[in-house]
Amino acid sequence: MKCAECKESLVAYLEGLLAEDQKHAVTEHLKDCHSCQAELKQLTNLQERLVSNGKAATRSDLENQVLNRIIREQKVRLKAAEKASEGLKLRRLIMKNPVTRVAVAAAVIVVAAIGIYSISEPAITFADVVEPILTARTMIFDYIVGDEQTGSTITDTISGQRIRRVMANVPTMNMIIDLDSSKMLVLDDSEKTAAYVDIQGQVQERHQSFVKFLRHVITKIKDNHQELGEQEINGQKAIVFEATGPNERVKIWADPETAAPIRIELTLGQMFAVMKNFQINPPVDDSLVSMDVPDGYTLAKTDLDMTDVTEKDFIESLRIWAKVIRDGTFPDEISSESAMKQVPVLGAKLTALNLSEQEGTQMGLSFGKGMMFRQVLETGGRQCHYAGQDVKLGDASKAVFWYLPDGSDTYRVIYGDLSVKDVAPEDLPK
């Protein structure tokens, strides 16, 4: 065997891939050839290094780390997909026919009016962090009522006494609220329609009280907040304050240097809301908050009565929820978060019922409006309780909801047949 031939076979020789006779020939050649021996030694060294490095690389625990990352990532993706499909569903329903479009719009307007604005008499104090909010003439921020992951984001642009509001899951629907005249202009960009809604009464008070709430906070800033130290939030350093009142809890994350708010969490009764993405004093074009009907929009005639919210409205929305949305059973819970989630379902049911535009609007409106009644009770710290889970509509033996009206000694109790009785505290259902 010649050297060149031997060297060519050395890899196969090392790998044990040579036939017996070839292997023998290489072995024999190696006995006498120093050059080929040296070559073999070199190859063996390199191969040993490769084998040992290869073993080290394989001893890694990447497997579990990768799988954990996949599982985490998948959860995030699923949630995002769910959220997207919810928004899509709602949008599709709204666009599908004029009845649901108007009805759902009516319900959305009202349900969205609930939210963080339902703050009454805050007994809370904060640090200087709210100063920029208070002194700002214009402000833009996002807020989410309920679960931050699944809830719908609402963006408010505030300029003086005007608010422009957009919900992320109904992006073509804009609401402009004028606190001075207590009017709301509803613009539907997809259909180019506009409608004015009178919001005098409780709806207006709620919006006013938000502004009042901020003023109130500023006057009390230095009193009674608790500093929770520094935290990192979304990669940003923040100083955290918390304040607690009898019925509310507020947590603020703020820039430790500029005191600008980064995130605010509000718990009011059983309601939870997050405010974030604050812009303080951004330029806001007047046309964004104009109460005039934009060019090219048709002004729709509406007689949405939003001026008062009563127990009767609440009972009506319970009836709609049980009868129309849930086919005869009261819902498991009636938080504003779940009410907002029911809006698309209501839209679908109304389509199936073949109602006229007028009837559909009325029903959507009644649903949202009645829900405001409960919001007033709950966020006002009024005693109330919902017990309607699994109760059938029409069952007069079971109490569904009770509350203590302002200044009253007896509770108002609403039963499964939607009748109402005054009941002494000691006679309340257990």
Binding site: V11, S35, E39, Q42, L46, L50, L62, E63, V66, R77
Partner: protein, 182 residues
């Protein structure tokens, strides 16, 4: 290692993410070596390998032919390594500016990854064979099967790859007549 890539990939696509673990087990060594060679440190390689596997998992539906999973995975790893290097470079530039130091810290290639760095420099067809043979724990005939090559080609490829590696590592006592394939 009894099932081939195709089987596990189809299992993953059928909604059994846990079966991805077999893919990871199979290719972690290969990917780590490849990335350590490119990034010069074990930590960075592990981070990039994780990232590459996760990306591969979520893009599996885009893989046209499951048989070419390995090359496809290396392609993903190359992109990840590139991104990491860019980030690293930006970071270093920032550090340099911050410290007013003229000396930019080069990517400290640890002694241990000289070999992997040399492998990373190999032409594609050589690199794949070396990675699979030593970091993927395959025998020569398994490599031949996976890459659809004759066994003789695999040993010849290895032989040339060794020559190139030795040259680039400049092993002491290297023989003069060592043939080098460009």
């Amino acid at each position: 290692m009894s099932e081939n890539d195709k089987y596990y990939i189809e299992r993953c696509l059928d909604g059994h993410p846990d079966d991805f673990r077999y893919i990871v087990r199979r290719y972690q060594g290969v990917l780590l070596a490849h990335l350590a060679g490119k990034l010069g440190s074990r930590d960075r390689a592990e981070e990039a390998a994780q990232e590459s596997f996760v990306r591969a998992y979520f893009n599996m539906n885009k893989l046209r032919s499951p048989g070419s999973f390995f090359s496809w995975l290396l392609g993903i790893a190359d992109r990840v390594a590139k991104e990491h290097r860019r980030k690293e470079m930006l970071h270093q530039q920032r550090e340099v500016i911050r410290s007013f130091s003229a000396e930019a810290a080069g990517p400290e290639l640890s002694q241990d990854y000289g070999l992997e760095a040399a492998i990373a420099e190999l032409p594609d067809s050589y690199r794949r064979v070396v990675l699979l043979r030593y970091y993927g724990g395959r025998s020569c005939s398994e490599v031949a099967q996976q890459l659809d090559l004759p066994l003789g080609t695999v040993t010849k490829t290895l032989s040339r790859a060794y020559a190139m590696l030795r040259k680039s590592l400049q092993q002491p006592g290297e023989t003069e007549n060592c043939e080098v394939q460009k």
